[in-house]
């Protein structure tokens, strides 16, 4: 039951060209930095990436975009990325934009074995095009399908050797949802602990969802929008 692998290279060893990946994080917050670097190093191509955002030019998924590894992005917001824009406008990159709550719930649906969910997000907009609309109690909902991803690659704060995970603050975001949703789930953690070190009441992601885990290193944790107030405000 020991799910520990040596490092990011080992964790992503069998991700091959054309794979569908989920990548946790919101902006640059809570992203699997080590695995992204390992994927860039590995040079795997033609990836479909399901991730709320696409990183920035020189960090996060932006690094994979720069090295032309991404065929398609499925995201809710892809701003802040000039290289992304260039590839998209040149037709080198496909993008599917979906509402953030729909993105989150389609991950959850996969993790919960629910093939589809209903949400009102996007009713009456171009997001609804081609989708089944259904009325419940006088309100229209779109039927949206669970994601089907080969790998979920996520980042947690603490984890144990059995794959149990705990997230910190808003670095939680999509990570526990994607953890549930991947056929193979790879978790990198800031602190890897022996089984039993985490309080079973406080575990966010039970180990059953996690297939590989390792302690990451050299986390940059870049801040995208440093916003501060003056001491005398």
């Amino acid at each position: 039951m020991n799910k520990v692998v040596n490092n990011a290279d080992d964790a992503v060893r069998d991700i091959s060209d054309g794979a569908v990946l989920m990548l946790g994080g919101f902006g640059l917050c809570g992203i699997p930095e080590n695995c992204i670097q390992a994927l860039v190093k590995k040079g795997v191509k033609g990836l479909t990436c399901i991730s709320n955002n696409a990183g920035v030019d020189d960090f996060g998924i932006g690094l994979m975009l720069k090295s032309r590894q991404v065929k398609k992005m499925i995201s809710s917001y892809v701003g802040e990325n000039a290289e992304f824009e260039r590839q998209l406008l040149n037709g080198e990159l496909e993008v599917e934009l979906i509402p953030q709550g729909t993105l989150a719930t389609r991950c959850m649906a996969a993790g919960y074995g629910m093939p589809a969910i209903f949400t009102p997000a996007g009713v009456g907009t171009e997001v609804a095009q081609g989708k089944e609309i259904r009325n419940f109690n006088g309100k229209d909902y779109l039927m949206e399908y669970a994601f089907d991803a080969d790998f979920a690659i996520i980042k947690a704060w603490k984890g144990d050797t059995q794959g149990n995970l705990v997230f910190k603050a808003t670095a939680r975001n999509f990570n526990p949802l994607m953890a549930m949703a991947g056929k193979i789930t790879i978790a990198e953690v800031e602190e890897l602990l022996p089984a039993g070190a985490l309080d079973p009441n406080e575990i966010h992601t039970p180990g059953i969802y996690v297939h590989r885990i390792f302690q990451g290193s050299a986390y940059e944790k870049r801040i995208e929008q440093l916003t501060i107030r003056k001491a005398h405000q």
Partner: protein, 218 residues
């Protein structure tokens, strides 16, 4: 005189009621947090997974793991809680958030809103806006009455791709406060010194004016 962005935020803050859970969008809506009336306690929701958002951190106290939906570094207040994005949008979808304030490019007299896409321009994505407008019980739009070209943003029907349909309840602009009613935009208040006539001339959608329209007091 037309309101400043700060004043628009200040006016919207008067809509807050004690005990409200509130989601504030990026831009003018974010400023609303600076004007929460005395004695009114609200909890701010950030859709990336936080209830109980506090002010920006002091320098050196920023935490890269603690950001808002605009990716800005923030703090928390006492009684806050973190959760994943599915629960976050679950509570939005279930109508647990009492008030949502967001910006818009266009609002129609039927309450439709367009705020995510301009054809021909690079699209950045809708983020959580479509989820919010489809589910929130009470949506107030904060925006300028006209665009930089001077064209009305309050229209009979939106020209831009929609974010949501028939969802906006109220619009607070630099010129006034308008409720979406069955007949169109009902003018509730004027900015100080702004005439009904001026508002009429800058409102392309149907404007309803009943009796004397009070002037806002600042």
């Amino acid at each position: 005189m037309a309101l400043s962005k700060e004043q628009i935020a200040q006016r919207i803050a008067r809509e807050l009621k004690d005990g409200y859970y509130v989601n504030l969008g990026i831009g003018i809506p974010t400023l609303v947090a600076n004007y929460i009336p005395e004695g009114v306690h609200v909890v701010l929701q950030s859709e990336n997974g936080l209830l109980g958002m506090g002010p920006f951190p002091f320098e050196g106290e920023e935490d890269p793991d603690l950001i808002n939906a605009g990716k800005q570094t923030i703090t928390t207040v006492q009684g806050s809680s973190f959760f994943d994005s599915a629960m976050s949008f679950g509570m939005i979808r279930a109508g647990k958030v009492d008030l949502t304030v967001l910006g818009a490019m266009e609002v129609s007299e039927k309450g439709d809103i367009a705020n995510w896409k301009i054809p021909g321009k690079m699209v950045k994505g809708m983020g959580g806006a479509m989820d919010l407008v489809a589910s929130a019980k009470n949506i107030i739009v904060a925006m300028m009455h006209t665009n930089p070209k001077g064209e009305s943003k309050l229209l009979p029907a939106c020209h831009l791709p929609l974010t949501g349909v028939g969802c906006v309840k109220k619009v607070v602009t630099d010129l006034g406060v308008l409720a979406i009613t069955e007949g169109g935009f009902k003018l509730l208040e004027r900015a100080p010194g702004v005439s009904v006539q001026e508002i009429q001339s800058k409102t392309a959608g149907k404007l309803i004016v009943e009796g004397a329209v009070p002037e806002m007091v600042y």
